[in-house]
Symmetry: D3
Subunit: 157 residues, 6 copies
């Protein structure tokens, strides 16, 4: 993805299209993304609860893996690709939760969007759990941390 | 949603479940959420391009409406509900883009998650478009702005 | 749907949106659509085969019902609605096949798109079956035949 | 697809099945399909509107790309494949709109159904937009224009 | 569902259809289903592991809730309905695991299929987890336990 | 799948993840699964009806193929894979119906779950059809019959 040429998602007439990636070789790709959920003391108490919090975090991880697999359906111009691995970490922090997701594939396009979508789905699952006690819950800093593979090579934040 | 009792998404044994909302009346609900996409000058140039940028923003709005309809599939414990209206605004700003989404329904649960999911999907569509020119693109401040209807009444950020 | 005001799918700023239907009462709606598949003698022989043809037609009917349920996901700005009945007829004709689908609901929007989508999915299933023997197979005359219910009342082709 | 043997979608007992394509090599495949939407002067005025019409056509292109990716879910017996490119053109004509879609892949089966499904989804999106002003809107001539690749080689309408 | 007339899923010409439920009132419906997973000592050791087993069971519950929401897409002739509650219990037993699911709704059709589909999805998630250590794992006794509401009233196994 | 190491679906910290299969070669995989539906004389009469029963069995086969393609969405930790063939047999028996499904692929993971999910979806479709006349209908013996390919080689029940 990040090795597409600039403006690659629109063709010479400005029309959105799913760009042709056939000229690219299928190579090993890895991308890591992350984000943060900031919540109130009540929200954090829920996430830290050994039973209820563990269940929420487990559901967030499951939602993240499912979300990574759904990326091409959610983001109109992403290619449907075969994802070979998704790993999701959810850590309860002093301000809420920190989410990191890694996606791996051997494909013609990168897996950056898959890692980012996984993070977003985990974050929304946590938001849904704390919303009743903290409607002010916030998701921040949804970013790509690292990518490797593909024509444009390795990139680190 | 935000009028669920605290910890409502886990039952008395700490098990995640889709909470029973039958005791709640079906009433008019509205929720508004927003987020921001921060990108580099190259990314902003793309979004400001009258042809390519307009196409991206249109795809982001379409993805947001589709995402709102998909909320119950993305977030494990959300109820499948009938959404009666979704409105999405994407504004190109000095730092990137600002997204706002409003969801409305007459249901037994709120539409907060639908508005938040719409924003996340629009943001990820924009991220996908600018990632080739700015892998450092960032989504911030995904929050609920306002909700009304339901047992817990009106809430404003 | 057909009782929306003109241009109802775009708001006052030309932005696509899922229009607010809350002001409309939920009333009984019915829509009937149809289309035709024209194929070669080889394609017709397949459709008339008592075993293989019956299987194709049964798969086409199943695809039509499934397609009607998927309308809101396929057509960006359609509302997700509860469909209360879908009936699909596939008739083998002298030139190929004729498809008719009826959708019924008690909702705030019409079911015209559901009937049309059902027809399109049945037609594509038949096309898929005859394509190996007739790549020139053609779908024509996908139209609404009749609608009733809603503010705009009854309409017949 | 069109290089399957005749009746390939049903086995020796007349049962529908997803045919085994493992004996076929994964080769480059391209398919182009098209269709036409015929609408009234009111419908054409909407499509020609520089703001509302542009938004509809953009939504139609997005729906077409999404539809191509969904082909295996819509058409029961299609194989789930990786699509490497989809390009969609929507042209406003004197009678309505003309849609053309090209799908490309390196797979064991053709992408004819993906190109046809893309056209159908774009057409239905346009139909949905003009239906309130023209319930008589019609989709015609949904056909394969060209295919290349696979055992059966190149075919042109 | 179980208050449909016999053969209700096929019409007078033997064609599958999504039966018209509009004549039925929308009333409160509840259905409970269950099934059993039988596995080897190695499989049971995995399910009893306080960390890995808990994670599997949590994923099974999430899959069950998601599966209940997907029933109308999985089972061709089921109506898409709004489910108001799903509760899933997974108990590790001496022979493997026991799954029970309850679905509730206020609709025109029953929620029996939703409860059964939830059980099947939870069972398949557990099967997927133990399959590497026990390819002989087995799902048995997938049955409806109880239903209430609707024209046909209460039924108990 | 069954050639994953034990506990492969949870990582060293007990977290569910979609395991990395990149170290495995893409090889030919085949899996066959089966299950049984037991129903009352009334239910069997329906399945044996030459018109209504044939339609149900055809819908069950279609649901099975569609279910196999949906496996990765239904079972949280399954990899999305390309399935190259699915074959489904439904036989009416003295006690109800017997279902067998075979899935084939050239992939890095097995297709056991695809074959099992196909059987479950066919069984639930039959259950849905007979439920109005036999709410006691039961699915039993959902098992893997055979697998070949992959590191762990051939396995037979």
């Amino acid at each position: 993805m990040s090795d597409d040429p600039p403006f690659s998602h629109v063709d010479e007439h400005g029309r959105a299209s799913m760009v042709n990636v056939l000229a690219k070789p299928a190579t090993y790709r890895l991308a890591r993304a992350s984000c943060a959920v900031a919540t109130s003391p009540d929200g954090r108490r829920l996430l830290q609860n050994p039973v209820a919090g563990a269940e929420v975090i487990s559901a967030a991880r499951t939602a993240a893996v499912a979300g990574a697999k759904r990326t091409a359906r959610l983001i109109p111009l992403c290619h449907p690709i075969r994802i070979d691995a998704v790993r999701v970490d959810v850590t309860v922090t002093r301000t809420g939760a920190r989410i990191a997701a890694t996606a791996e594939s051997v494909e013609r396009t990168g897996v950056e969007m898959e890692a980012l979508t996984a993070c977003a789905c985990a974050a929304l699952t946590i938001v849904r759990a704390v919303l009743p006690v903290d409607p002010g819950v916030r998701v921040d800093d949804l970013v790509l941390e690292h990518k490797s593979g593909g024509r444009s090579g390795t990139w680190n934040r």
